[in-house]
C-alpha cells in the first residue's frame, strides 16, 4: 500500500496546485457575475468586454513595454555574466556569482521594499523605469542560469578554431558563439518576458501612476462585478505564459542538443 498512499499524495498535490488555475477558464466562459457553481451557461461576453476597457489597454501596453525592455536588459546582462563565468577565472568568482544569483531565492517583497526605500531616499520619482529596474534584478538570475548551461556546453576550442582561421575575437563571437548559444538567448528572452509580465509585488511597490497589468488586475478585484472579466484576462495570461515557457524550453533543449551536450539545467 505504500505506493498507493504516494499516488494519492501526488494526486492531491497536483489538484491543489492546478485546480484553482483550471477554474479560471471555467468561470471566464460562465454566463454569470457570481463565481459559484452551478454554472449558468456559455458566453464570450467577458472576453468581449476586455476590449472596451480603456484603462486595461493602458496597463497592457505598459506591461508589454516593461516586459520587453526587461527581457532584453536581463538577457544582455545574463550573456555577459554567463560568458565570463564560463571563460574566465578571477578571485572571488564564486562569491560574486552567488550574490548575482541571490534574487532567485530572495523574497520579492524584500527586494521591492528595499528598492522603494532607496529610490525614495534618492528623491527619484517612480515610473515604468523603476519597475524595469526591479524586474531586471529578479530576471537576470534566471537568464544567467539558462545561459550558463548554454555557454558551459560550448566547446572552447570552437572559438579558438575560429580565431586560428583568421577571425578576430569579436567576429568569432558573432559567427560562432552567438549562433551556438542563440537557443539559450531566445529561451532567456521568453522566460524573462514572462516573469516580468506576470510579476506583481515589485510592480505594485515601484509602479508610478501607470499600473502594470497585474497591478491593474489586483485593483479590479475590489469590484465584484468585474471578477468575470478578471477571470477572462487571467485565462489569457495563463495561456500566454504556458505558450511562452514551452517555447522557451523548446529552444533551450534544442540548444543543448545542438552543442552536443548533456541536458543538466533548466527549469521545466
Amino acid at each position: 500500500m505504500r505506493g498507493g498512499w504516494l499516488k494519492i499524495y501526488a494526486l492531491a498535490y497536483l489538484v491543489f496546485l492546478y485546480a484553482p488555475i483550471a477554474l479560471l477558464p471555467v468561470f471566464a466562459f460562465n454566463d454569470g457575475t457570481i463565481i459559484a457553481f452551478p454554472l449558468r451557461g456559455f458566453t464570450f461576453q467577458w472576453f468581449a468586454e476586455l476590449g472596451r476597457i480603456e484603462a486595461l489597454h493602458g496597463a497592457v501596453l505598459n506591461s508589454l513595454m516593461i516586459a520587453v525592455t526587461t527581457a532584453i536588459l536581463a538577457t544582455v546582462l545574463g550573456i555577459c555574466a554567463a560568458r565570463s563565468a564560463a571563460r574566465y577565472d578571477y578571485p572571488g568568482k564564486r562569491g560574486v556569482m552567488g550574490f548575482i544569483m541571490l534574487p532567485l531565492v530572495l523574497p520579492e517583497i524584500i527586494v521591492a521594499v528595499s528598492l522603494l526605500v532607496v529610490l525614495l531616499q534618492l528623491g527619484l520619482s517612480l515610473g515604468a523605469w523603476t519597475v524595469i529596474l526591479g524586474h531586471v534584478l529578479i530576471c537576470t538570475p534566471f537568464s544567467i542560469a539558462i545561459l550558463n548551461s548554454a555557454f558551459q556546453n560550448l566547446d572552447r576550442s570552437l572559438e579558438e578554431a575560429a580565431v586560428d582561421l583568421g577571425e578576430t575575437p569579436w567576429s568569432t563571437f558573432r559567427l560562432i558563439t552567438l549562433p551556438l548559444v542563440m537557443p539559450g538567448i531566445i529561451s532567456s528572452l521568453l522566460i524573462s518576458f514572462t516573469i516580468s509580465l506576470d510579476e506583481f509585488i515589485i510592480a505594485f511597490f515601484l509602479t508610478g501612476t501607470e499600473p502594470t497589468l497585474p497591478v491593474y488586475l489586483w485593483g479590479q478585484l475590489r469590484f465584484p462585478q468585474q471578477i468575470p472579466v478578471v477571470m477572462a484576462l487571467g485565462t489569457i495570461l495563463v495561456a500566454l505564459s504556458i505558450i511562452l515557457l514551452t517555447t522557451a524550453e523548446y529552444f533551450r533543449r534544442r540548444g543543448v542538443a545542438r552543442a552536443g551536450g548533456k541536458d543538466t539545467g533548466g527549469f521545466l
Binding site: 566547446d155 576550442s157 570552437l158 579558438e160 578554431a161 575560429a162 580565431v163 586560428d164 582561421l165 583568421g166 577571425e167 578576430t168 560562432i176 549562433p179 551556438l180 545542438r258 552543442a259 552536443g260
Partner: protein, 362 residues
Amino acid sequence: MTKPIIQLQDVQKYFGDYHALRGINAEIDEGEFFSLLGPSGCGKTTLLRVIAGFEDVSTGRVLIDGKPMEGVAPNRRPTNMVFQSYAIFPHLSVARNVGFGLRRAGLTKDELGRRVGEALEMVGLSGYGARAAHALSGGQRQRVALARALILKPKVLLLDEPLSALDKKLREQMQVELIKLQRQVGITFILVTHDQEEALVMSDRIAVMFDGQIAQMDDPEVLYRRPKTRRVADFIGVMNFLPAEVLFEAGEKIEIEIAGLGRAEISSDQAPRGGGDGATSVGFRPETLTILYDGQQATDREARAKVEEVVYYGDMTYYDVRLEGTDKTVRLSMRNVFGREVLPIGAEARIAWSPGALVLFR
C-alpha cells in the same frame, strides 16, 4: 637547403606557480614532419598552443619564418591548428566549415566553391560538402578539420593528438594518409602525441618531452637505437636494463662488466652524455637478442638462459628469459619462422647478444 621555419629560444611558461615549460630550445625545418612526444601533462599541448599563439610565453622567444611572434595574435600567425576535439563548427555545413578561413579572402562564390572542393578532395571527402557537420563520423570530422586548416595553405600545421579519438584500424590508416598528405602539400607538420609508436611511424624528427623539457630530439631511428637517458629509453618501445660497472675507459673504448652477461667492450658513442640518475646500467632492445637453435652459432657473444614466460603474437613471440646464474630477467623477441618450434616455458636456451647493440646509461 632547409631553413628553420620555427625557432624556439628558451621558451618558458608559467601557469601561476606551475612551471609548465622549462626552457624549450628547438628549430623545426621547413617541410619537416616533427612530433612532440611525451607522457600526459608534460606540456606538449602547451608548447603547441604557444606556437599557435593561444598562450603567451613567460620568457623566451618564438620565431616563425624568422619573425618574432611576440604580441602576434593567433589569427595573424601563419599557422593553423587541428584541435584534439576537431572543433568542427556544429551549426555549419561541411563546405562552410572548410571554407571558413577564406571568408575574409574576398573570393567569388565560384572560386570559393572550387577551393573548398579541392580541399575536400585532398582529404578524400569529395561530395560531402552539403552534409551537416554534426552528422559526421569521427574519422570524417578529422578529415574536415584537416581540410579546413590546410585550405589556408599555412606555413605550419599544428596537430594536437589528431588520431587519439579514432579506433586502432582507422588510426593506422590515417597515419599513412597523414604522411602522404604532408608529402603532397609540403607544409611543416607539428604533431603532438603520447603514442610512441605513432611518433616513430610518422615523424622525420621527434622531440621527447618530460616535465616541460625536451629530453631528446632526434630522428626516429637514433631515438630508438641510441636513447640518451634511461627515461627516454623506457618511454620508447621496450628496453631491457641490466646493472653494469665501468671498469676502465680508454679513448673511444669503454670496458664494462654487466650483471649476467660478463665483460664487454663498447665504444664511447654507445654511452650518451645524458643526465643520469647515478646508477650505471646497460640497456638493449628485445630484438637485439636471439635464441640460438640447434646447430646455430652466435656471431658475437653467447649466454645461457631459461625461458620463464612466453607471449605469442602470431608473427612474433616475446620470451622473458632469466640469465643463468642471476636473478635477472630480460625480454627478447623472435620473428616466428615456419617449421621452427616456439620454446616452452622452462626450456633452457642459448642466447646470442652483441656488445655493439648496448647503450650505457650512467
